[in-house]
C-alpha cells in the first residue's frame, strides 16, 4: 500500500502545494501583519452576540467576510422604509441593528437619534389620540422618555466617536428642542465647541444660551476669550478658507460682545479691545 501511494503523483502534488502555501504564509506574515493591524484598527469589534437573533447566516458570513458597510447600508434603507410607515418597534430595532453592524458612520447615529427623539414622540402622541386630545403632562412624559432613549443612544456613540463635536451638538439639540432644558443644552454646546473640528456655531450658541439664562457675565467672558481665536480674513498660507471666515462670523461675535458690555454696564475704558 505504502509503495503504491508513493507512486500516486496527485497525492504528492497536493502535499507539495499545501506545504508551499504554509511556508509562504509563514514567510509573508511579517510583511502583511502591519497592513492587517492597520485595517483592523479601522474596524470596531463586531458584537455578534447582540446581532445573532436578528441576522440570518448569510448576513453573518457577509459581516464576517468584511462587508459590514454594505450590510449596514442595506439595514439603513430598511430602517427608512419602516420609519416611513411610522412603525415604532421596527424602527427602533433597525436603528440599533444598523449601528451594531457598522458603528463607524456618524450619520447613522445622528439620524437614528433624530428619529427616536423627534419622530417617535410624534407617533406615540398621534397613536394616543393626537396633540389636542392628549393631556400636556402625558405629552411631556413621552418627550422625556424618548429623549432619554435618544441621549442614551448618542452617549453610546461616543464609544466609537470619542471626540465628535457633532454628537455633542446632537445631544444639545435634544435638550434644547425636546426637553427645553437650556442648561444641559448649553453645557453640551460648550463641550461641542471644545472638540477638534467643532463647528463655529457651537461656540456662539453656548453664550447665547447663557444670556437666555441670565448668566450674562459668563457669556461675556466666554465671548471675549473666543473672539481672538476666530479667523477674520482668508489666509491660504495658514489654510484659512473663505468658508471658515464666513462661518466664524467674527463681526457678529464682536457685536454680541458690545451688546453685553452695554447690558453689563461695562465702562468704555474696560471695554474689550479686539
Amino acid at each position: 500500500m505504502k509503495s503504491k501511494l508513493i507512486n500516486f503523483r496527485p497525492l504528492w502534488t497536493g502535499v507539495l502545494v499545501a506545504t508551499v502555501l504554509v511556508v509562504t504564509g509563514v514567510v509573508v506574515r511579517p510583511f502583511e501583519e502591519p497592513a492587517w493591524v492597520f485595517v483592523r484598527s479601522k474596524q470596531p469589534a463586531l458584537k455578534l452576540d447582540s446581532l445573532q437573533g436578528a441576522l440570518g447566516q448569510g448576513v453573518t458570513v457577509g459581516l464576517l467576510g468584511g462587508f459590514r458597510a454594505i450590510v449596514a447600508d442595506l439595514f439603513w434603507i430598511k430602517t427608512n422604509s419602516v420609519w416611513e410607515d411610522n412603525n415604532l418597534p421596527a424602527t427602533q430595532t433597525f436603528i440599533k441593528l444598523v449601528t451594531a453592524v457598522d458603528p463607524r458612520p456618524l450619520y447613522f447615529w445622528q439620524n437614528g437619534a433624530r428619529m427616536i427623539a423627534y419622530d417617535m414622540p410624534n407617533w406615540r402622541i398621534t397613536a394616543g389620540g393626537g396633540y389636542d386630545a392628549m393631556p400636556k403632562a402625558q405629552q411631556r412624559l413621552i418627550d422625556e422618555e424618548q429623549s432619554a432613549i435618544a441621549l442614551k443612544y448618542l452617549n453610546e456613540a461616543f464609544g466609537y466617536h470619542p471626540n465628535s463635536a457633532l454628537l455633542y451638538v446632537e445631544i444639545a439639540n435634544v435638550y434644547l428642542n425636546r426637553l427645553k432644558d437650556n442648561e444641559s443644552a448649553a453645557e453640551a454646546y460648550r463641550m461641542a465647541s471644545m472638540q477638534p473640528n467643532a463647528p463655529f456655531y457651537a461656540a456662539r450658541i453656548y453664550p447665547e444660551l447663557l444670556r437666555k439664562m441670565g448668566r450674562n457675565a459668563e457669556a461675556y467672558a466666554w465671548l471675549k476669550q473666543l473672539y481672538p481665536t476666530l479667523p477674520k480674513q482668508i489666509d491660504h498660507a495658514k489654510g484659512v478658507t473663505e468658508f471658515e471666515v464666513q462661518s466664524a462670523m467674527a463681526p457678529v461675535v464682536l457685536s454680541r460682545i458690545r451688546e453685553l458690555e452695554q447690558e453689563l454696564n461695562i465702562p468704555e475704558s474696560k471695554a474689550f479691545t479686539p
Binding site: 502534488t13 485595517v39 468584511g66 463607524r104 473640528n197 462661518s247
Partner: protein
C-alpha cells in the same frame, strides 16, 4: 532536408501572445457585456439613494454599493472567466495543439493568468471610473445644494478610491491564480468554479482562524487552526473600501505592502499552478 536546432528559452513574448489571445477570447465571447448591466445597476442604485434624501451621506452609500458590486461581480467574473478560459482550452483540445508547439507550460499558464488579469483589470478600471464619475457628479450637486456639509472641502478622496480599485484588482489577481491552481488539477469547469468560491469565502474568513488561535484549548485543534491561518491568503486586508470608507486617507506604505502581498501570492500560487499543470496528462 535540414532541421532547426536551437534552444528555446522562456519567452515573455510567447507568454504575451497567449495572454493576448486569452483576452481576445474573453472580448469576443462578449464577457464584458454584463458590465453594461452593472453600470445600469450602479446608476439606478445611485438614483434610488437620492430618493432617500441622505444628504452628503448619499456619497457613502454610492461608494459602498459601488465597491460592493465591484467585489461581488469582480469575484464572480474572476472565478468564472479563469475557469472558462482554462477549460475551453482543455475541453476543446486547443491546449493539445498549442502545447505541441515549442512553448513552455509556464508560458501557457502565466499567459492564461495574464489574460484573465487583464480582463479583470478592465472590469476594475471601468467600474472604478464609473463610480468616480458618479460620485463626482453627485458631490458637485450636493455641494451646490448644501455647502455647510462640505465646509472642509470635498468629502471624497478620489485618489484613495483609485487605490482601492487597484487593490481589488490585485485581490482578483490572487483569486485568479488560486482558480488556475484548482483548474490545473481539476477535471471539470463546475468543480473549479465551486472550489474557487469555496476558497474565496475561506480567504475572506481566514482572519477568524488567526483570531481563534489564542483561544483554542486543545493542542491538535490549535495547530490545525494555525495551519489554516497560514495556508490561505488573507483577503480582508485588501478590503480597505469597507474598512476606510470614503473619507480617511490610505497610507501609501500600507498600500504598497498590500499590493506586494498580492504580487507574492500571485507568483507563488501561479508557480504551483505551473507545477501541477506540468504533471497533468492532457
Amino acid at each position: 532536408m535540414s532541421i532547426t536546432h536551437r534552444s528555446v528559452p522562456f519567452s515573455l513574448g510567447r507568454l504575451g501572445i497567449v495572454a493576448g489571445n486569452t483576452f481576445l477570447e474573453a472580448v469576443r465571447q462578449k464577457l464584458f457585456n454584463f458590465l453594461l448591466l452593472l453600470a445600469v445597476a450602479l446608476v439606478a442604485s445611485a438614483q434610488l439613494f437620492r430618493e432617500f434624501n441622505f444628504g452628503s451621506s448619499e456619497l457613502k452609500f454610492i461608494s459602498d454599493f459601488g465597491f460592493g458590486a465591484m467585489v461581488f461581480f469582480g469575484s464572480t467574473l474572476t472565478i468564472a472567466a479563469t475557469a472558462q478560459l482554462f477549460f475551453s482550452e482543455i475541453e476543446n483540445r486547443t491546449a493539445l495543439t498549442i502545447l505541441a508547439k515549442p512553448i513552455w507550460r509556464t508560458e501557457f499558464i502565466f499567459g492564461k493568468f495574464l489574460g484573465v488579469f487583464a480582463v479583470v483589470g478592465v472590469f476594475c478600471a471601468l467600474t472604478t471610473g464609473l463610480l468616480l464619475a458618479l460620485l463626482y457628479h453627485r458631490e458637485n450637486v450636493l455641494m451646490a445644494a448644501n455647502a455647510e456639509a462640505f465646509e472642509q472641502g470635498r468629502i471624497i478622496h478620489y485618489g484613495d478610491l483609485v487605490l482601492m480599485g487597484v487593490l481589488q484588482w490585485m485581490k482578483f489577481g490572487v483569486l485568479a491564480a488560486i482558480t488556475l491552481l484548482i483548474a490545473s488539477f481539476s477535471n471539470t469547469n463546475l468543480y473549479t468554479v465551486v472550489m474557487g468560491f469555496f476558497v474565496l469565502v475561506i480567504c475572506h474568513l481566514q482572519y477568524l482562524a488567526r483570531d481563534a488561535y489564542g483561544s483554542v484549548a486543545s493542542l491538535p485543534l490549535r495547530l490545525l487552526v494555525r495551519l489554516l491561518g497560514y495556508v490561505f491568503p488573507n483577503f480582508q486586508v485588501f478590503n480597505l473600501a469597507d474598512q476606510i470608507g470614503i473619507g480617511a486617507g490610505i497610507d501609501p506604505a500600507i498600500f504598497l505592502r498590500v499590493a506586494g502581498y498580492a504580487l507574492i501570492y500571485i507568483a507563488v500560487i501561479g508557480g504551483l499552478a505551473v507545477y501541477s499543470f506540468r504533471n497533468r496528462e492532457i
